[in-house]
Point group: none
DNA sequence: AATGAATGAGATTTCATTCAT
DNA sequence: GATGAATGAAATCTCATTCAT
């Protein structure tokens, strides 16, 4: 209705209306991370989103749909945006990796989205198509990007001639470790995990190991 | 046990009675890995174990108890046995790590137990005490062992003077990557993940990076 | 309640929401009386209350909670209200007892609540705290009230000097007999039990026995 | 087998064999009284009887059969024996009643069987035929006996001309009260119930009320 | 658009009963 | 005669989903 009207002055509740799906997904993200897909109740998600159960069904067909939206939406914003803009990078692959890790710590690790991989891991059995989606859309895109950087690094003579795909995977391993530690073991651990030092040490060893 | 008697002729069902819990745990391991804790039905576990629902309750108080037994029992056998016997290792730390990775591939990665970490990750929110147990009993023991090897490697002058705990974590990262890949992404992937080459490449780069 | 507002137009389901717990308790009363606590199925209670299983759990945490509510709620309305207003009675203790028995026949015996004592008796082993509650809240209150009337009757010279507590218990015995007969033996009996004549004969004999 | 043999020297286990059903019924009596029919588990009954679950089924077809045996067997021994021998009583009806109450206290009230009426009350809904059986075999026989005594008392001019059946019921009421108190409220009560004084006071009042 | 009472399929768990030993 | 492992029907309880308001 009223589609012709100038939308300059949105009422408060109109802004809410558009914000709702996002609020629900945020709530769902938190609860899926906390309890896993099955143990997260729609009621709890609703309460955390500040609505009632029924409202969720105005925006999503089912719990499964909430979950799938979540796993799909949240990617492009953080990881891929960063990744793509970085794909045009020109310069030292080591410099690139340092920035890449720094971005990861800043944008992902200390962010709500860091729980998504954990969710994907836990529910890969029940939602194989999501596992596939993530592998294709997130992991392999990241791998391709890293492979490209590695390959160009080899071409530039800065990196030994090693299979670039494997190197890309090795570059990802510490990131996975950070994510798993943060979302799985950090809460029950007394000693903290110094992610920055960990990644810095990795760079030190990894870069030295890669050089010709 | 069995200190009292020869008792050569155990009844058929006495032999079963001793075998049952193990059979049930094996079935549960498979199903929890496949579907996660919540989505795995007791009935399915029973069927896979070749019994009926009620039988499980002769040996375990509840589904939760099955899960906890599972997560606790299955450790010592595979990982820790290997780890401990290796802790008396004398020689090059690089040699040790190579053996360690080979053992891991052989005993864990291509074995049912490889799904346990995945389960722990997925259910850490619902069973925080298990996450803690795993961190303390599995991860930190492995870390301590690796730290020791690294430290002695540094003392022997074969490894640069770097924080050995961080190095130990870096040594674990590729293992985590293998486990996650195998249990989460392998089934929906067309191209295989060549774990051996991956770990070999890791050794190549990692060892070179560690040397003085 | 309702202090805040006029709210003249309650929704249909708001009215139901207030009525539901009572409807469920009535249904539960009937079924617990008929089959006992354990043999009464939640489904049957629901059907008799005109709802489905799940609905009961919107209002009560568990079957046990339904039972406890039942045993606690239903008292004050019938027995205690009558008892308390009678506690201010002034006049002949015999007159009082006659009215008391008449009230009992009218308000309790030919009423749903008459099954509650039977339920308490049958389940006292499983719910000892309820047996205690009933003894304290129903029986002992009634006894205290009757004792008071007897004592004042003795003071007035209308009753022999006998231990008033025992007399109170003797005054309750025929009531218990009526309740047990009605709820336990009446359905399988061909000849009826004439409660009015029974209590009248009791009064005849009891009163004559009490007089000096 | 061996039916022809002289049975003078029964083996120990043969005596057990014959004792078993009784031991099981005793155990069942205790458990039914404690928890009611439904909540009493066959396993618990077996354990208390010192046998295993399966053994019960050698002597009884089902749980229901155990219950029915129990409710039927235990009568003749205690109540009816006493009742019948008393039915030939000649003399003062008051004397008779005193002896009757004394016997009740001695043989029933401080005996395991005192829980039977409680069980019958609690399970009358599920086992109406047992309620009928008890009414016919226990209550009405007792009533008939008491009625006879009362009637003869009226004939002898010792009791006013009142409906003897009602008087018989009134004579039973305090007995019911004792039974219910003992089996339902005694365990959760701090003050004891002085059954002897209670019945003595009853006799005092009751007898005076009956006299012409 | 939002609510929340109601539903009912489906899960866990219990326990009377069976039967091979 | 006795055992006790195994069964499976049946109960309680949960929660995603619907729909009248």
């Amino acid at each position: 209705m009223d589609q012709t009207a100038p939308k300059r002055h949105l009422h408060h509740w109109q802004r809410r209306k558009q914000a709702r799906p996002g609020e629900i997904l945020d709530a769902a993200l938190a609860l899926f991370a906390e309890k896993g897909y099955a143990a997260a109740r729609m009621e709890d998600i609703a309460v955390r989103a500040g609505v009632t159960k029924g409202t969720i069904y105005l925006y999503f067909q089912s719990k499964e749909e909430v979950f799938k939206s979540l796993a799909r939406e949240h990617i492009s914003q953080s990881l891929l945006v960063a990744a793509e803009q970085a794909s045009q990078f020109e310069g030292s692959p080591f410099e690139f990796l340092k920035v890449f890790y720094a971005r990861f710590v800043e944008l992902v690790l200390h962010n709500q989205v860091s729980v998504l991989p954990k969710i994907i891991i836990g529910e890969s059995g029940n939602f194989p198509e999501l596992a596939r989606f993530w592998r294709e859309e997130v992991i392999e895109k990241a791998m391709t990007m890293l492979s490209g950087v590695i390959t160009s690094g080899i071409a530039r003579g800065e990196i030994r001639n090693l299979p670039s795909e494997m190197i890309a995977k090795l570059a990802m391993a510490p990131i996975l470790m950070c994510l798993v530690w943060r979302t799985t073991f950090e809460q029950t651990s007394d000693r903290g995990f110094d992610y920055d030092t960990f990644l810095a040490t990795h760079c030190d060893v990894f870069f030295k190991g890669l050089k010709p």
